[in-house]
Symmetry: C2
Subunit: 169 residues, 2 copies
């Protein structure tokens, strides 16, 4: 039987849906999914506010779900995440032996998969992970920018329309 | 009221008791405690085998317990751990804003608090942590060496004694 092969963009869109769920829950909008054999086996979004726990990143929650399903090692699994993983998550990615990580936008302040560090490809550690970046990065960036602008009280200028639908400013 | 101030060695002994609990449960013997205001508020040992989850390091379990008690931030808390934290745990230490980390023995293969990386004192990240190493390091090293020797089938040569208590080889 031939299995359809989906593109990285296809999977990233699902991760972006998760990021939107985070946004709607007033969490920093980051989403992550884990894919194995063309199937989503884990899906999560950042929930640091919900749990009042700064370790509850989307990647950690998704990895936890995947381990629960598959056991200790995630060989042959790919993680799609809308923001470059931080040091903690990059460490967890190496420890759980993920095969590949695809992320949307780089994180200049905390990224550990090529930006501040390159933990996931460090040959001194006992596992290395294939990395691909910049997949649908604009969509993820836009969502993050909108979230932080809203937090700072910077709203998009929306046209003011009266009840007749006329533009009044 | 004057509060007795306990030494780092005092707290490390409690972390070592936790490491021994790990050893007895056939887990890599690493123990961790978190101390605030002269009180132990969290206590854990490595449970990667028990949970069949390679993220269940002593530090992660202790941090999780402490956050459950105190909320998101662990300012004014100190972590005592018998082995230098790895990348994942060092990331979690920074994210949870721990004040101080004291560890016993360095980890030449995965240590991220001075050995392979110095995550916990990286000024580019948004929190830095005071670090102290080599506290009761020989005791921790001995426990780890004994564990791995046992795993490799290398046992200490013990004298063979017959039922009369006589040395026979």
């Amino acid at each position: 039987m031939k299995t359809a092969k989906f593109s990285d963009e296809f999977w990233m869109k699902i991760a972006l849906e998760e990021a939107k769920n985070a946004y709607e829950a007033n969490e920093v909008p980051v989403g992550a999914i884990i894919v194995k054999d063309n199937q989503v086996i884990a899906k999560a979004h950042n929930q640091t506010e919900y749990y009042q726990n700064s370790l509850m990143h989307a990647e950690m929650l998704a990895i936890k779900q995947a381990i629960k399903k598959l056991g200790k090692w995630l060989y042959n699994c790919s993680l799609y995440v809308t923001l470059e993983p931080c040091v903690m998550c990059a460490g967890a990615i190496v420890l759980s032996r993920l095969y590949k990580v695809v992320f949307a936008t780089k994180d200049p302040k905390a990224g550990a998969c090529g930006t501040l560090y390159n933990i996931t490809q460090d040959k001194r550690l006992n596992h290395q992970v294939e990395i691909k970046s910049d997949v649908l990065k604009e969509l993820s960036k836009e969502l993050l920018t909108e979230f932080f602008n809203e937090k700072r009280g910077v709203h998009k200028q929306r046209p003011v329309i009266n009840i007749k639908g006329e533009y009044i400013g």
